[in-house]
Symmetry: D2
Amino acid sequence: MSNMDLTVEQLGPARFDSPLLARLGRQAGPMDFVDDRRRLCWNMYTDGAPRETDLSFEQAGPRRQIYFDPPHARAAIVTCGGLCPGLNDVIRALVMSLHYWYGIGEVLGVPYGYQGLAAGAQPAPYPLRAQDVEDVHQRGGTILGSSRGAPPVEEMVDTLVRLNVNILFCIGGDGTLRGAHAIDIEARRRGLKIAVAGIPKTIDNDIELVYRSFGFQTAVEEACKVLDCAHVEAKGARGGVGLVKLMGRDSGFIAAHGTLASGDVNYCLVPEVPFALEGEHGLLEQLRARLRARKHAVIAVAEGAGAALPGAGDRRDASGNVLHPDVGLFLKEAIERAFAGWGEEVHIKYFDPSYTIRSVSANANDSIFCSDLARCAANAAMAGRTGLMIGQWHGVFTHVPLAAIAGLRRRIDPQGKLWRAVQAATGQPDLIN
Amino acid sequence: MSNMDLTVEQLGPARFDSPLLARLGRQAGPMDFVDDRRRLCWNMYTDGAPRETDLSFEQAGPRRQIYFDPPHARAAIVTCGGLCPGLNDVIRALVMSLHYWYGIGEVLGVPYGYQGLAAGAQPAPYPLRAQDVEDVHQRGGTILGSSRGAPPVEEMVDTLVRLNVNILFCIGGDGTLRGAHAIDIEARRRGLKIAVAGIPKTIDNDIELVYRSFGFQTAVEEACKVLDCAHVEAKGARGGVGLVKLMGRDSGFIAAHGTLASGDVNYCLVPEVPFALEGEHGLLEQLRARLRARKHAVIAVAEGAGAALPGAGDRRDASGNVLHPDVGLFLKEAIERAFAGWGEEVHIKYFDPSYTIRSVSANANDSIFCSDLARCAANAAMAGRTGLMIGQWHGVFTHVPLAAIAGLRRRIDPQGKLWRAVQAATGQPDLIN
Amino acid sequence: MSNMDLTVEQLGPARFDSPLLARLGRQAGPMDFVDDRRRLCWNMYTDGAPRETDLSFEQAGPRRQIYFDPPHARAAIVTCGGLCPGLNDVIRALVMSLHYWYGIGEVLGVPYGYQGLAAGAQPAPYPLRAQDVEDVHQRGGTILGSSRGAPPVEEMVDTLVRLNVNILFCIGGDGTLRGAHAIDIEARRRGLKIAVAGIPKTIDNDIELVYRSFGFQTAVEEACKVLDCAHVEAKGARGGVGLVKLMGRDSGFIAAHGTLASGDVNYCLVPEVPFALEGEHGLLEQLRARLRARKHAVIAVAEGAGAALPGAGDRRDASGNVLHPDVGLFLKEAIERAFAGWGEEVHIKYFDPSYTIRSVSANANDSIFCSDLARCAANAAMAGRTGLMIGQWHGVFTHVPLAAIAGLRRRIDPQGKLWRAVQAATGQPDLIN
Amino acid sequence: MSNMDLTVEQLGPARFDSPLLARLGRQAGPMDFVDDRRRLCWNMYTDGAPRETDLSFEQAGPRRQIYFDPPHARAAIVTCGGLCPGLNDVIRALVMSLHYWYGIGEVLGVPYGYQGLAAGAQPAPYPLRAQDVEDVHQRGGTILGSSRGAPPVEEMVDTLVRLNVNILFCIGGDGTLRGAHAIDIEARRRGLKIAVAGIPKTIDNDIELVYRSFGFQTAVEEACKVLDCAHVEAKGARGGVGLVKLMGRDSGFIAAHGTLASGDVNYCLVPEVPFALEGEHGLLEQLRARLRARKHAVIAVAEGAGAALPGAGDRRDASGNVLHPDVGLFLKEAIERAFAGWGEEVHIKYFDPSYTIRSVSANANDSIFCSDLARCAANAAMAGRTGLMIGQWHGVFTHVPLAAIAGLRRRIDPQGKLWRAVQAATGQPDLIN
């Protein structure tokens, strides 16, 4: 990472006093505004040896001087991709802080994701007032609606220009942030003074430079409830197996944390750690031994686990694309086939709770976290930062240039603390021959 | 129903004072014991006209004189079939009341359903003490384990004889109660003085003469949470459809009650009410119109709904048995195919929460209900009743002969109050051409 | 009860076809409307002997012919007294069924209880549309607000006349129903054709002729959570006592049901069963013995329990009214004083969760129950019934004249099934010397 | 802080290979063990200027070489002070990791806090096996029991010697950690090779150098539920005020975070921010204005708030100690008195949920956090560290010498980010004249 560039773009010099200055009045203290020079070190460790890198992040937070004149500024908010607990909390906090803290001219909600920025999108973006969002944090999902994909970037920038939007907040995952980056580049190319700020959304918690993503803790909480049910089902039958597929296409954080919190999982399968089905050390023989000894088992499998297994990824559609099969059903069938072959009893109860997990409302802690993220994004954009997302490094909110995260993914380190804890909690061996 | 025989078998004349008499001492009052002659009328209505039937039920409850001598009696408990919230509450209350109220000699737990009564079953039935079950109501599932099917009835009765079991409590659904009936008949045939009492378990609430089955309210509660998630998912996309498959092979009570409680369901599909997919009034065109107008929809479908649809039930296995396809997946594919044909947008989020719903612990009200059922069963068996199950008629616990319920199923009346309420809550039209 | 008059008043002969007839069209069946002659027997038991009474209730439900012409009718809804889970469900279902089933002209919401019917009440009653109440069942409390007490009955009837209200729905407890009765009498006296229908609200479940009151099951559910916390706290200290005060001024149903559902309560104290503090069999000595043996204890006390204890009810206010002291704090102090005197260790953790219990939203089952009650009330009033409340007898909804319930209270029978179950669950002795 | 000494004591040179080495075998990688020289910087910021301090923490985690020979080592665990969500998770993870990771000889549970280390304590410390703690994380409280205060330190060390305890884990708050420090000093004085490791427990989140304390997030979650009820109650009456007292004697973190998460609080009162009752800007007049305008209000008050108010802290007991009055009741009475004086309507619903909040089981995220803390403590003690507690700095677990934290308390900074967010969320003005 040592040659990564963490410089965040700035639309121009700050020109206006922050309205917070007037609002705070005599109360204003040194903690109320973040100095632009203040940065957070990438490397926080010392061992006497010279530092590996001098990388540092710009710290997020309100600036004393800002770029946009609030009463003449107009912001728009768009939510993209799959649902995630906390989306409404982010929307609410953006609207509240733009209206109440900054006294912004108007905030628009863009319906149904980037599709709402298409030329003739129906319904069109519409104003969001504070009272419209007052109670939305009590509901899961996104009041704006969402979608996947996007119109051409030129068309979206045209729409922003047509709507006089000065600030665009993009809430979404990897693809959404790439889209935000493209919009930012196009706006720069045209010389437009539009700030584009991303709020990373990934229920899988797999965005690099983001210490923790919103909704993740809520998702783990919900996953645990299902793992508990799986445990009950497993114990309810001789040869009972509770098999739970959890989100995580490229990284297994939800499966791993769910495993740690539940305490009842016997096998945790994640994309980062290959495993064999067949053979002495493969999952099937291990499971067979466990069912003989203990009569039941619980398996948590991330949806992207086992991609390398023979038979798991070899189906292709008409265009030759690899079809991502449902790893949970794949495992279910493989286990049932193996036990049938051995003439031994197995009863698999299969759980696929993904839509339930992602559509609940955020828990209290995630809710607060979402508000913090949103306020940081509002502060950054009002101060003229653009082409950035709000990251979190060791508990401190940061400005991260969208350019820096392209193609990076956080993944579980199979030799790291988290995976070792999972191994200890499950007692599972290496499922490799 | 007017020619139904509701006479419950009795092993012989009651010979012992109930231990409750001594326990209550001077406190004992007229309400403490139920008179054997007291019966509950089947027909509780009057309209001046002569009564349709004089059918009546034996009322459940403790008897002043009982048949078994508690310190020399041994009971066994078996749980069969799928999980259902409250199983552990029933087990707990049986063990508690047999030990504390009656001072019974011993209570055995039969592991893994009727299979635990096979000749050489491993593990074998084992004693259940009060302290073993103290906290089990806080967990879902059954501490005894369960299974489907049963060894030959002669073998099971042999086991009961070998274990000196005087009383057998069978907790389970339709098949389990038929099994209990067979055991009772075999025991009678051999002249054995074994009381067999059933506690009906049907998460679908579909046992006739049982006004409400345990776990049902808890199941509806859980179903509602999922319907709420489905609503959130549906609203999160243009053309969003939340499709929730709920339990109910022959009757759609969970789907109907869940629909009423959630308030967000637009189409409730149950086995009792046929519906068309195709055609002007079929589900597909209706859904199309709704998505155009309202952009989203929620569908609750009981697993046995739509059996008459072309394509839904026409697959057969090697032996020619109709394969029950997953109606949820069937609908999902049919809807996606239709909308693809129309070139209109639809995003179906499919929920299959059955295992989650049935494995949670009972809510407070179900928990109390389970205890009541269990105590009634204990009272009946100690008094020498056999070949019966505990029913509930208009809120009163009754003794129902197992012979009486053979082949009866409670189902939703498409012209009755419940279905009218569902129609009103969803606004759904008749989906029939 | 045998000389009770259960005849419900009727404003006049039904004059209009129910709009349901047209709505159902060809679907309409014999179950869709209740025949006015159909009645539910008070006594449902038979034992060969002649029936004790021939009392019977009018069955609730939609009538084929109704009294009011829906498009020209105007209804008003008022909620009074303390909060109770399900109030918003009742309001929602009233508004929905009046608008969608009956196509009523207008429904008014009366703000802040009967006070909203005062001459110059601010805010004044305002129209409730279907969309205003769509989501209110997801929130506790009442969207209308509530209050205690009432303006003079003449003033309230004046207001109803001024607002052209034809139907008044009063949701509330004992006092509220007495108020509804007074309004009905005054309206009759003036010859007004106003129907007054009550929906009984009593979180304590203590209204006679009402088998179960809405919100009660939810309240027991919440009470159980607190009893569980009390158990945890009690076990956390040597001499730990978890003391939970629950609602129940005149009857201890919540305490009793909570005790049964939790399984962890050692002493359940209710108004119906006197107990001594002092003396060998008094609570203090019994608790002392238990703490020596088991180190901890859980006590559930209904707020009206122990009124006869010396010192508990002897404080009077300036007007000479008995001051109801907080029985929980009274017990806490008495226990601490006694143990201090004995020099023995006791740590009392006192819980007073009443406001939390009553302000949660209704659970699924209560929610459905509320809708049923509301629809029955709408049906009754549209059919011209007045001066009645919706009761429930053995699971069937009934019309009960308000005159019949004056002064009646349901209470726990100390020799009945419920109290015996509590005694069995707690193992508590008679706390009487 | 710059002159703080963060050096952690070490019983002696590490002498044994960690059993993890053998367990991991070829899998062992560079991340598996923490190098003793690796330290975490106190100051993580850079702004070009020289660093304010070079303070750094020892990083927690497993060491390659350890001090104790596991099969010959014996550990003891003690939990002290008030309950806190997660205590059982900590106990469980300590027992699990000591047994399964380290293969320790024996782990003792000390009953009822430090009192269990008294000379003749009954019950005496007893062995804790892995199977004893398997499910305890599903229950709130502490399976060991707790107490306040402690026997003389010499007596406790005598007990440790008598029981051959090599490692003592003390889980508790400020006082408990001071006790641990005293035990460590006494053990050092006697030349005993006993490691004493603290795990800080403070539901208030107010221990300095501990970024986040276990159970805090769970507590906020529970507090939010009560704030939501208070909001419902407040809106249910004209002049309705929901007043919620939350934990926080010296710092108001729970009240502040609860306020942020709920979104419904209008006044948040904490110990760190003084407020006036009387006067134009005092709480009473502000509340009066709000009730006139908005009819209802929600107040969250930390138990230590308002200590400087006239009348709040002026009661003293017989020994002259200031009696901490219940600030909630104090406010309730003050508000009622003021509104009575003004002749204006107010209905205060008072909530005191402290025991409920602290006795629930930990949520998933806290549960994982507790396991991490426990494993760090086990690693530290096995490696021979003593006189330390496990801290957390910017998300990294650290070793903090007990000597360093004496007398330090984390408190809300009235000019910091958290309090500004509370001000924004509530809209509350400075309540100071």
